[in-house]
Amino acid sequence: MEFFLQLLVNGISLGFLYSLSALGFVMIFKSSSVLNLAHGELLAIGAFLFLAISTWAQLPIWLSFALTLVGTFLLGFIVERFFLRPLIGEDLIQVIMLTLGLGIMFKGLLLFVFGGDIHEYRTFLPEGLSLDLGIVRIPSVNVATFIIGILFLILFGFFFKYSSQGIYMRSVADNQSAALSLGVHVRRVFALSWAIAFIVAAMSGIVLGIINGINVHELSAIGLKVFPVVILGGLDSIGGAILGGIIIGLLETFTGGYISTSLREIIPYIVLIIILMVKPYGLFGLVEIERV
């Protein structure tokens, strides 16, 4: 029983990490329908920027956090302007290949600057955040992740559902020429969505870095874990991404705990194939409305 509970808690906290990493991905997909294969590298960029500012430059934590957010926001603008904008209106595969190439580029650059070792942040989270549930203890990092995750969910849920800018972003993803005819600033929407996605990815990357240490290879591998998560939840649903992450996290820890550790890495993909066969648009995704 204790083992079970421990696995449950581990699974949920791992899953929350996945959900958090998936958020930026869903952001981009929702507003520009781009499947971002460089997402793992975006996580890594945020994590390393924070590392460089907080640990190497020794700036206070809150300041380096703010600087990281500003930095990644600008970076998002730049990447959109120089790499993605020329491709507006091109074929899907071209855009996918572009994000793939960008990912490889970023990874090489990060490895060049920071090397392939595991780095760590200096500790700054208060110990008081940790929860003791009697049988199992949840470390403060995971509690912090949980709080951040919930905050994000509410924030972005509201942003997309109710704010005008959020609705404009969705309208662009839906029907670009109609949005253009109504005066939606399409290029600005694209730039903004990439900038926001960079920020979200940076935050997730920082949280991942706090828990697992910061390593280029590991973070870019998590970028691929995002796929089962978002497929499970539906590519364009933020709530789905959160739930999908938790389900995948639980699946992984329980498979690892009860069946075999080697199967653990692969189980999300097996589930993914099954889901795609049974419910192609995920649990909460929008069914494609096709009128001929």
Binding site: I167, Y168, S171, A178, S181
Partner: protein, 287 residues
């Protein structure tokens, strides 16, 4: 009769100069040519004038260049790789032919695209809210009320996904969406496309009301010439990328050629037989 048409075309050109001098001109298109992908010329010297507060209808068969004319005005040619190569477009005396759609819509020119380009995954109300993009950050509740007043059917469906609405509802939706932008000049591209006759009548009634109550200038591109000429003040007929005929709407309604070819009634009022239409088509080349 041919002579009459020719002289009408030329006379229009002369009249335009005069209109341009007057102060109530909303939009002035002077002799524009539009080329797609640098090779396909669609418009070959189109000139037209829209006066403030008027409803102007643009008639013509498929491929005549009506939609291209609208897109040239609203700046939507650029995403389709089209360009205005000659002539100029002036809106309230300002040149707009090379502006981006973002700037043009912010001047108050809103185009309602052909074929009901709704946002499928947004609800009806969210669709309407996209219409506020040109005045982002300003309150929009009053405008919503206004649109629901014009189109009560939308109010009942406001939480439904637009992708699941009927064709009639969608046409109302896209017109309402454009109204949200407070248009000074509203360009409607085939509002009757694929709608039942009764619905067409209703839509056109509302278009007329919009013109009268909102003091918006309207340009309506239509296949349904009968309907369009009933609500319009002025009409243009296009063919092969040129304006071939222009006149007051009432005059146009009485024009025997328009009657024959676009309204489907002969001078006597009886329906024309197919044979005669074909004969007209042969003659049409001279226009």
């Amino acid at each position: 009769m041919l002579n009459f048409l020719q002289s009408a075309g030329q006379g229009g050109g002369g009249k335009k100069k005069v209109q341009f001098m007057e102060n109530d001109t909303r939009l002035q298109i002077n002799n524009i040519s539009v080329v797609y992908s640098d090779v396909i010329q669609v418009l070959k010297g189109v000139s037209l004038t829209i006066k403030k507060g008027q409803v102007v209808s643009l008639l013509g068969s498929n491929g005549a260049g009506k939609t291209t004319t609208l897109k040239a005005i609203s700046g939507l040619l650029k995403p389709e790789n089209g360009k205005v190569t000659e002539g100029y477009i002036e809106y309230d005396g300002e040149s707009i032919q090379n502006s981006s759609p973002e700037d043009i819509t912010r001047k108050g020119i809103i185009q309602v695209l052909e074929g009901r380009q709704e946002f499928k995954y947004l609800t009806v109300e969210e669709n309407l809210r996209v219409g506020t993009a040109t005045r982002w950050g300003k309150p929009y509740q009053k405008d919503l009320g206004l649109v629901y007043n014009y189109f009560p059917a939308l109010l009942a469906r406001k939480k439904a996904l637009a992708g699941y609405c009927s064709g009639g509802e969608l046409q109302m939706l896209v017109i309402g969406r454009a109204l949200m932008a407070h248009p000074q000049l509203l360009l409607l591209d085939e509002p009757s496309l694929g709608l039942a006759p009764l619905l067409v009548k209703e839509i056109f009634q509302i278009i007329k009301r919009i013109n009268q109550e909102q003091e918006a200038t309207l340009m309506v591109v239509e296949q349904n010439a009968n309907m369009a000429l009933q609500i319009a003040h002025y009409g243009y007929v296009m063919e092969n990328g040129k304006i071939v005929l222009e006149s007051e709407a009432a005059e146009l309604r009485e024009n025997p050629d328009v009657k024959e070819f676009y309204l489907g009634t002969a001078a006597s009022g009886a329906l024309k037989s197919y044979k005669d239409v074909k004969a007209y088509k042969r003659r049409k080349r001279w226009l």
